[in-house]
Amino acid sequence: MVEYLQSLTPDLNTWLMFTSALFALGIYGMLSRRNAVGVLLSLELCLNAGAVNFALFNRFWSPVQVDGAVMSLFVIAIAAAEVVVAMAIFVALFGYRRTVDVTQLNLVRE
C-alpha cells in the first residue's frame, strides 16, 4: 500500500496537468462570468495557477535555487496591486452605472 502510494509520486506532467486544469477553469470563468467581480475571481485562479507553476519548475528543474519562488512572490504582489485597482474601478463604476455587468460595459466601442 505504502509502496503503491509512494509510486504515485506525481511527476512534472501530473503537476502541470493540474495547474493547466486550474488555468482552464479560470479561462472558463473569465469568459462566462457576467459579473465583473466574478471575472476578477476567475482571473485570480489563472494567476494562482501561474504562480504555482513557477514554484513547480523551480523545484523540478533547479532545486537549489529560488528564482521561481521569487517569481511566485512577485506574482502574488502584482495580484495584490491588480485587485486593489480593479476593485476600486468596480466600486467607482458601480457608482456611475449601477452595474458591474461586463456585457453592459461596451462603451469603448462608441
Binding site: I27, M30, L31, S32, R33, V39, V102, T103, L105, N106, L107, V108, R109, E110
Partner: protein, 675 residues
C-alpha cells in the same frame, strides 16, 4: 554714344515723370488734396511733353546715317528680367523716327487731356483716382512707345490695358461702365494671348538663332527689336523650315503678334470693346481710345514691320483685316445715335485705314508704312479734338444722344468752330491734316497695286465724311432739342442742367484750341520726310514728294460727296433722313444693332463658355473628382464598419479571440516545429 545731347541720352526721363507723378499722386496726394493732385499730374505730363518736343528737336538735328535715314538709338538699356543668357529683358528707350513721333503725340495729347480734365471732372469724387490712372496710363504708353524689345512692349501693353480698364470703369457704381471696362480688358486680354504666343514663338526661334550666332550677337538680346530686325537674323528667320498647320513659322509668329495689335487697335472681330469703352469719361476716350492706346496695335506692326515684311501672308492678313474693319466700322458709324459711339466707330474705321496702309506696304512700295504713321500722327490730333469737342458738348447738355442736342452752334461757338475744323479734317478736306495723310494712304494702296483696297479706302473716305457731318449737323445745326434733359451723362455736377447750354470754361477750350492748331498744322509737318521704311540695306530711296493729284482729287471728292449727302439728309428737313431709314428697313436695323456682334459674343461667353464649359467643370469637380475622393472615404468607412462588427466592446469577446489566438499560436508552433 557720347555725343548725344542731354535729352537724347536721358530719354527715360520722359516716361519717368508721369511715373513719379503717378506714385506721388496715387500714394500721397490723392487722399490729401484733390486739386493739388490734378495740378501735379498735369504739370508732370506737361513737363514730359516739353521734354518730348525738345527731344524731337534734338533728334531731328542728329546727323543722318550713310543711307540717309535718321539714326536708331538705344541710349538707355538696363537689365530688368533675366530669363536666360541671351534672353534678358532690358528696360530702355529706343529712339527712331516713329517712336519719337509717337512720343510727341502721346505727351502732347496727354498733356492737353490732363489740362482739359481738370475742368471736365472738376469737383468729382474720383478726381484724384482719375489723375492717378491717367498718369499711369501716360507712363505705360510712353514705355510702350519707347520699348526697345518685345517684352517691354508687352509689359507696357498690358499696363496700358489695365489703366484703360480702370479709366473706363471710372464710374464704378454704374453697371454699364463696369461691364464695359471688363469687356475691354477681357477682349484685349484675349488678343494679348496671341501677342504672348507670338513672343513665345518668335522668342524661341530668335533665341536659337541668337545662340547660334555667338559673338556676332553680343550685346543684343534675342527679343530686342534691334536684333530681330537685323537683315541676317531676318533671313535666318525666313529660312526656318518649321511649319505649323501648314503655316510657316515666321508667318505664324507675325500673325500671332498681329493678333495682339488687332486687339488693342480693335480690329474686326475684336472691335467690340471699343464702342463700349466710351462709358469712360470723355477725356479718357479722347486720350486712350482715340489718340494713343488704340494706335498701339498699328505701332506694334510698324515697329516689327521687317518681320511682317518677311512674310507676305502676314501682311496680307493685316491688309485684309484692316480694310474690312475700316469699311465695317464706317457702315455702323452711319447709324449710331450716341455721339461718342459714332466717334468710336470712326476711330475703328481710321485704325483700319492705318492698318491696311501697313498691309499694302513692302520694301518695294514703302509708302504705305510712311502713310500709316503719318495718318497715325494727324489722326491723333483731330480725333482727340473731336472727342474733347464732344466732351465739351456733353458737359454742356448732359446727354450723349445726338437727337437730344441741336442748334448748339449758337450757344457754344468755340466748341462748334473747333469741332467743325476737326470734322473737316477727318473728312479729308484740304488743307487740313487729315487730307494729307489720307491722301498718302490712298496713294500707297493705289501705287502698290491693291486697287480693291484703294476702292474701299475711297468709299470709306466718303462714308467718313458722311457720318461725321451727320453728327455735326444734328448736333450743332437745326433747332435746340434739349428742353427736357436726361441725366444719363457721365458726370455728376448738374448746376446748369436746366439753363441754356453755354460754352465750356477756358481750361477746357484752350486745350481744344491747341489741338485745333495742330489739326491745321499737322499736315504740313514733313512726317513723310522723316518717317520712312528703311530698307534692309539701309539705303533710303528718294522720298515721295507732294500731293498726287490722281489720288487727291477722287479722295477729296469722296469727302465732299459725303458732306453733301449729310447736308442733304440731316441739315434740312429731318423727314428726308427718316424716309431713307424707312426705305432701308431691316438692313438699317441690322447695321444699327452693329451686326449683332455684341449678342454673338454674349452668346459665346454666357451660353457656351460659362454654361457649357465652366459650369459643367465646376459640377464635374464637385461631383466626380471630389466624389471619387469622398467615395474612397466612404469605402474605407464601410470596410471599417464591417470590421467594427467584431468589436463588440465586450471584454469577454476580446478574451475569446485572445484565447483562440493563443490556441492557434500553440498549434501553429507545434505544427511548424514538429520534425
Amino acid at each position: 554714344m557720347p555725343d548725344l545731347s542731354f535729352i537724347l541720352s536721358h530719354a527715360w526721363l520722359i516716361p519717368a515723370l508721369p511715373l513719379a507723378s503717378f506714385l506721388l499722386v496715387g500714394l500721397v496726394l490723392r487722399p490729401l488734396h484733390k486739386p493739388l493732385a490734378g495740378a501735379v499730374a498735369t504739370a508732370a505730363v506737361f513737363a514730359a511733353a516739353g521734354l518730348s518736343w525738345w527731344l524731337a528737336f534734338d533728334y531731328l538735328h542728329l546727323p543722318k546715317t550713310a543711307g540717309g535715314a535718321l539714326p536708331v538709338l538705344v541710349p538707355t538699356s538696363v537689365e530688368w528680367l533675366r530669363f536666360q543668357e541671351g534672353l534678358s529683358v532690358h528696360l530702355g528707350t529706343l529712339l527712331d523716327p516713329i517712336s519719337v513721333m509717337l512720343l510727341v503725340v502721346v505727351t502732347t495729347v496727354s498733356a492737353l487731356v490732363h489740362l482739359y480734365s481738370t475742368g471736365y471732372l472738376h469737383g468729382e469724387d474720383g478726381y484724384g483716382r482719375y489723375f492717378t490712372f491717367l498718369n499711369l496710363f501716360t507712363f505705360s504708353m510712353l514705355g510702350l512707345v519707347l520699348a526697345p524689345n518685345l517684352v517691354q512692349m508687352y509689359v507696357c501693353w498690358e499696363l496700358v490695358g489695365a489703366s484703360s480698364f480702370f479709366l473706363i470703369g471710372y464710374y464704378y457704381d454704374r453697371p454699364s461702365a463696369v461691364s464695359a471696362s471688363k469687356k475691354a480688358f477681357i477682349v484685349t486680354r484675349f488678343a494679348d494671348l496671341g501677342f504672348l504666343l507670338g513672343i513665345l514663338v518668335l522668342g524661341y526661334y530668335a533665341f536659337t538663332i541668337h545662340a547660334g550666332m555667338g559673338a556676332a550677337a553680343a550685346g543684343q538680346q534675342a527679343l530686342d527689336f534691334a536684333f530681330l530686325t537685323r537683315p541676317d537674323v531676318l533671313s535666318q528667320l525666313q529660312a526656318l523650315q518649321g511649319q505649323f498647320l501648314g503655316i510657316g513659322t515666321l508667318t505664324l509668329a507675325a500673325v500671332l503678334i498681329y493678333t495682339g495689335g488687332a486687339g488693342k487697335s480693335a480690329m474686326f472681330p475684336l472691335h467690340i470693346w471699343l464702342p463700349d469703352a466710351m462709358e469712360g469719361p470723355t477725356p479718357v476716350s479722347a486720350l486712350i481710345h482715340a489718340a494713343t492706346m488704340v494706335v498701339a496695335g498699328v505701332y506694334l506692326v510698324a515697329r516689327s514691320f521687317p518681320i511682317f515684311a518677311a512674310s507676305a501672308e502676314a501682311l496680307q492678313v493685316v491688309m485684309v483685316v484692316g480694310a474690312f474693319t475700316s469699311l465695317f466700322a464706317a457702315t455702323i458709324g452711319c447709324t449710331q445715335d450716341d455721339i461718342k459711339r459714332v466717334l468710336a466707330f470712326s476711330t475703328l474705321s481710321q485704325l483700319g485705314y492705318m492698318m491696311f496702309a501697313l498691309g499694302v506696304a513692302s520694301y518695294e512700295h514703302p509708302l504705305g508704312y510712311t502713310a500709316s504713321m503719318f495718318h497715325l500722327f494727324t489722326h491723333a490730333f483731330f480725333k482727340a479734338l473731336l472727342f474733347l469737342g464732344a466732351g465739351s458738348v456733353i458737359h454742356a447738355v448732359h446727354t450723349n444722344n445726338i437727337w437730344q442736342m441741336g442748334g448748339l452752334r449758337k450757344y457754344m461757338p468755340i466748341t462748334h468752330g473747333l469741332f467743325l475744323l476737326a470734322t473737316l479734317a477727318i473728312a479729308g478736306i484740304p488743307p487740313l491734316a487729315g487730307f494729307f495723310s489720307k491722301d498718302e494712304i490712298l496713294a500707297a494702296a493705289l501705287h502698290s497695286g491693291h486697287t480693291v483696297v484703294f476702292g474701299v479706302g475711297l468709299l470709306v473716305a466718303g462714308m467718313t465724311a458722311f457720318y461725321m457731318f451727320r453728327i455735326y449737323f444734328v448736333t450743332f445745326w437745326g433747332e435746340r432739342r434739349l428742353s427736357h434733359l436726361h441725366h444719363q451723362d457721365d458726370h455728376s455736377h448738374d448746376d446748369h442742367s436746366h439753363a441754356d447750354p453755354h460754352e465750356s470754361p477756358a481750361v477746357m477750350w484752350i486745350p481744344m484750341a491747341v489741338l485745333g492748331l495742330l489739326t491745321i498744322g499737322a499736315g504740313f509737318v514733313p512726317i513723310p520726310e522723316w518717317v520712312r521704311l528703311v530698307p534692309l540695306d539701309g539705303k533710303l530711296p528718294e522720298a515721295h514728294h507732294g500731293v498726287d493729284l490722281a489720288v487727291a482729287i477722287p479722295g477729296t471728292l469722296a469727302g465732299v460727296i459725303g458732306i453733301a449727302l449729310a447736308w442733304f439728309f440731316y441739315a434740312g428737313d429731318p423727314q428726308r433722313a427718316n424716309s431713307a431709314v424707312l426705305k432701308l428697313g431691316r438692313f438699317y436695323a441690322v447695321i444699327k444693332a452693329k451686326f449683332y456682334f455684341d449678342e454673338i459674343y454674349l452668346f459665346v461667353t454666357k451660353s457656351i463658355i460659362f454654361r457649357l464649359i465652366a459650369g459643367p467643370i465646376a459640377w464635374f469637380d464637385r461631383m466626380v473628382v471630389d466624389g471619387l475622393v469622398n467615395a474612397t472615404g466612404w469605402v474605407t468607412r464601410l470596410g471599417g464598419t464591417a470590421v467594427n462588427a467584431s468589436q463588440t466592446g465586450q471584454v469577454q469577446t476580446y478574451g475569446s479571440w485572445l484565447m483562440s489566438g493563443v490556441v492557434l499560436a500553440v498549434v501553429v508552433l507545434w505544427a511548424t516545429t514538429r520534425q
